[in-house]
């Protein structure tokens, strides 16, 4: 690490370096860009993967925490903090020129905290309507409902992107740019659309049937979860994570529980760990099955959709019997799990494994080798490894482009060090690679479950936890491999029973932000198919 400290100090001598949970660097806004550039261009260990961009309101100042990691070694992480004291007109410098992933994140920070980023080419508000009053994540946000009344009036969607650019002399120039050309044939795909996997809104400029440009517009299911977390105790927050990416509800909750446990130094009993990991993998299978089903449905194979959901139902049955929930399973709690496994759990899971393997073969016959399906997936929606990294696309989609990003391998948590499994990587980067990755990961998950199911140790399922959990002051961060990619929880605590700030890293946001790139010059039909192969869940993006 000293090597990295040298690089940091070389680039910005005034930087304040602390060794906390991870290496934390605090710099002035002016010095942010050179520092990040130095990290980005570091030859041995380029920090080219922006995990998360967290807008913060520290009351005296507004700022951003950047979390970087390296595509070469995912276990290396570094946090960069910068802040401005100007609350009226907060300005920071954008890093979109290096990290494409920063683009939508910066727009979100603008919507939530009002911080504008210099040199970001499109500073419209993300998630919220353009005329929303106030910045919700600010501590002094006025939540008076009369300020933002419910309306049924259709809002105009603006095509004009305001921006602040820095010219050669270092002067800031405000300007406005048009997103679409005057005579573009613009069609709304979503929000109420059968194939956008939720309420995503893609404004698509078409040239014939060829996609010319896509403008991602989200927020149709923005529920303000991060703000709600600030007024809730830690056990109360738990149920909200299930509803982020509801397809990997258990894994999301696992991340939050681990983050709290790490901070409060709670030791989770072994039995609970086993149950957690088995449930996580079952959850992953169900998530991938639904992704498979929905992808096939997007390509027009309704029957495949029904088959996928049929197999998924077996997993849901196990969930139902274990924790009384099918989709939102409410299993993990701080310190362990809420429900012990039921007596026939092992039997049911063991019956499911060979059944699923048999079905995987059937899926291959039915869809994976179908010439129509191949034509619609192979060489469609190509995403290179560099694109995947700069857009921070993780999960099966990122690994389809050769980006080795499985959190279970690189930053093992829970029992993943003990079990043996392969990271599924393909290098083609097309829809088919992503599609096959999911099927292969189902196989790997079955393999993991097989290793664990027989030796669930006896014992407690819940550690002793104080009735009121207070996390010591500090910043805590924990990531897991969810169904769609790296899901992470960031908690800043001031020692209270409420968190000061909670941020969820959404893997789906990255998957959507790359859509305009990989869908360009593809047909409208393929645009839908590529969306299916990226497998995003909108509530995860909007939070």
């Amino acid at each position: 690490m000293s090597n990295i400290q040298d690089i940091i100090l070389n680039a910005v001598p005034e930087a304040l370096i602390e060794e906390k949970q991870k290496l934390t660097v605090t710099v002035e806004p002016k010095q942010l860009h050179p520092l990040v550039k130095a990290l980005y261009e570091n030859k041995d260990l380029p920090f080219d993967y922006l995990i998360s961009l967290i807008g913060m309101d520290w009351e005296d100042k507004l700022g951003v925490i950047y979390l970087f990691s390296s595509s070469k070694d995912m276990s290396q992480e570094i946090a960069v903090i910068t802040a401005t004291e100007d609350r009226e007109n907060p300005l920071l410098y954008s890093i979109t020129d290096m990290y494409e992933a920063a683009h939508l994140n910066e727009r979100e920070v603008y919507a939530m905290l009002g911080i504008r980023f210099i040199n970001n080419p499109d500073m419209r508000r993300f998630l919220l309507d353009g005329d929303w009053n106030g910045y919700p994540l600010c501590k002094d946000y006025d939540a008076d409902p009369t300020l933002n009344p419910i309306t049924i009036a259709n809002k105009e969607i603006t095509d004009l992107a305001p921006r602040i650019m820095e010219d050669e002399n270092g002067n800031l120039v405000e300007s406005v740019a048009n997103i679409f050309d005057e005579d573009d044939y613009i069609i709304n795909i979503g929000p109420q659309h059968p194939s956008t996997h939720g309420v995503m809104h893609f404004r698509t400029a078409l040239n014939g049937e060829v996609v010319k440009k896509i403008d991602v517009n989200s927020g149709y299911i923005h529920r303000g979860i991060e703000k709600m977390c600030e007024t809730m105790t830690y056990p109360q927050i738990l149920h909200l994570t299930d509803r982020l990416d509801y397809l990997s509800a258990g894994m999301n909750r696992h991340a939050l529980c681990m983050c709290i446990e790490k901070a409060a130094e709670i030791e989770v009993p072994m039995r609970a760990e086993y149950i957690r990991v088995i449930m996580d993998e079952l959850n992953r299978i169900s998530s991938h099955l639904l992704a498979w089903a929905a992808h096939c449905n997007d390509l027009g194979a309704t029957t495949a959709f029904v088959y996928g959901v049929r197999e998924r139902e077996h997993v849901l049955d196990i969930f139902d019997k274990t924790c009384g929930g099918r989709l939102i399973i409410n299993q993990n709690v701080v310190g362990g799990v809420m429900f012990d496994i039921y007596p026939d759990f092992q039997k049911d899971v063991k019956a499911f494994i060979p059944y699923m393997r048999e079905k995987l073969v059937e899926y291959d016959d039915f869809f994976s080798h179908n010439p129509i399906a191949l034509n619609r997936m192979v060489n469609v929606g190509n995403m290179s490894r560099e694109d995947a990294i700069t857009y921070a696309v993780t999960g099966p989609a990122g690994r389809g482009s050769g980006f080795s990003c499985d959190v279970r391998i690189h930053k093992p948590y829970s029992l993943y060090e003990k079990v043996e499994f392969k990271e599924v990587i393909r290098t083609e980067g097309d829809s088919y690679a992503r599609y096959m990755n999911r099927l292969d990961e189902i196989e790997q998950s079955l393999h993991i479950i097989e290793q664990l199911i027989d030796d669930i140790p006896e014992g407690e399922i819940l550690a002793k936890v104080k009735p009121i959990i207070r996390l010591p002051e500090g910043q805590y961060y924990q990531s897991v491999e969810a169904g769609k990619g790296e899901f992470a929880v960031f908690i800043e605590s001031k020692g209270d029973k409420f968190p000061y700030r909670v941020k969820f890293r959404s893997p789906s946001l990255a998957a959507v932000s790359v859509m305009p790139l990989i869908c360009k010059d593809e047909l409208l039909t393929d645009f839908i198919g590529i969306g299916g192969s990226m497998d995003y869940v909108i509530p995860d993006i909007d939070r």
Binding site: H193, P194, L206, L299, G300, A301, T302, N370, I372, D526
Partner: protein, 370 residues
């Protein structure tokens, strides 16, 4: 041959009854009215039955049960749908091209009824029998696409528009293949009149009579017919997943019902024409010389034969529909222009050679000659 269950006797009795009791004018009028009612009734009943059958078979392919709560096995489900759709509001959309918007369902329905009229459902159960039957089929069935294009264009909706454009390209392409495939049979049987084509298949169905080229033509006809009806995997103009409901997005109530009805009817019509032209129409299985067997086969009425054969083809079409993903427009056009059309062109020549050299089944084994 005894044919106790045929309707030919009934029809000729009615005919003589009207002719002997009424003036020729009124006889014609009443006969016309009867034909009209018969066509309408058959049309409606077949449509309702098909909707039910399709939903049920679809469910079985998807390991579901399908409608089963109305009547036994849910067999009156489509009646409920009919009632529902009849009383559904018809929305008047602003800024549509009014005339075209309201005319579109007419085109679609009239086209399918006209094609429906030429299908021989059984002995004597054919309304229209032009001597240029095949050309008639191609001509009237292509009116339907005008309806689709008008619907998409006039709706003032972008999805509809794209759907209509797609269907235009799709239809004109597959129209060619369908035409050429039917032409192959015309070469074989030497006539375009539908009744004569059926008659010529008394002992050897065209698909066997013309063996290799006829079979190729049969497959091509099925594919292109399937494509013409806009049904999966060729359902691009509707493409539920992409275009919400494609060209009929803006249609509601019975106007939409007509599109829905015509879609199912067209599926039936394509299967019926394929049956008529390739599979011997309403002809029962006959073997020259086996008189006892033939008699037994004739006891089964001709319309049962017809519907059985058509049913098999419809089942096949559903099977394909629920097994494959949707094609992309370029794949669709590739399939037509790079595969079906060239193969078709060669196929016709092969058929001519087969016919001229006397290699058809009837020529090789005169026993099959009617």
């Amino acid at each position: 041959m005894k044919q106790p269950l045929e309707l030919t006797g009934l029809i000729s009795n009615l005919h003589t009854f009207f002719r002997s009791n009424l003036t020729p004018f009124w006889a014609t009028v009443i006969e016309g009215a009867l034909v009209l009612i018969a066509v309408l009734a058959a049309y409606a009943i077949i449509a309702l039955a098909l909707i039910y059958i399709e939903r049920k078979i679809t469910a079985f392919f998807q390991s579901r049960l399908g409608p089963n709560r109305l009547g036994k096995y849910g067999w009156i489900q489509s009646v409920a749908d009919l009632i529902k759709i009849l009383i559904k509001e018809i929305i008047h959309i602003n800024k549509v091209d009014k005339v075209l918007f309201y005319a579109a369902p007419f085109f679609v329905i009239v086209s399918s009824v006209l094609t429906f009229g030429i299908i021989p459902f059984g002995q004597g159960l054919q309304a229209v029998d032009f001597n240029i039957g095949i050309v008639y089929i191609l001509a009237v069935s292509s009116i339907g696409i005008i309806g689709v294009l008008l619907a998409g264009w006039s709706s003032n909706n972008k999805y509809s528009m794209i759907g209509a454009m797609r269907s235009g390209a799709q239809f004109i392409s597959y129209e060619l293949s369908a035409g050429f495939a039917l032409m192959t049979v015309v070469v074989l049987s030497g006539t375009m009149q539908v009744s004569e084509i059926v008659e010529s298949q008394r002992y050897a169905w065209n698909v066997f009579n013309g063996h290799i080229p006829a079979m190729i033509a049969f497959v091509i006809y099925l594919i292109s017919g399937h494509a013409e009806t806009n049904r999966g995997p060729f359902d691009l103009p509707e493409a539920e997943g992409e275009l919400t409901a494609g060209y009929h997005t803006e249609y509601s109530g019975l106007q939409f019902g007509f599109f829905y009805l015509a879609e199912y009817l067209n599926m039936f019509i394509i299967a019926a024409i394929a049956t008529t032209v390739f599979l011997g129409g309403w002809m029962p299985i006959q073997v020259q010389g086996w008189d006892g067997f033939n008699q037994v086969m004739w006891y089964i009425p001709s319309y049962v034969w017809f519907f059985a054969k058509t049913g098999v083809l419809i089942f096949f079409s559903l099977w394909v529909r629920w097994s494959f993903p949707r094609l992309r427009i370029d794949l669709l056009l590739n399939l037509e222009w790079k595969y079906l059309l060239p193969i078709n062109l060669v196929n016709i020549i092969v058929m001519v050679v087969v016919v001229l050299l006397g290699w058809t089944l009837e020529d090789l084994f005169p026993i099959f000659r009617p």
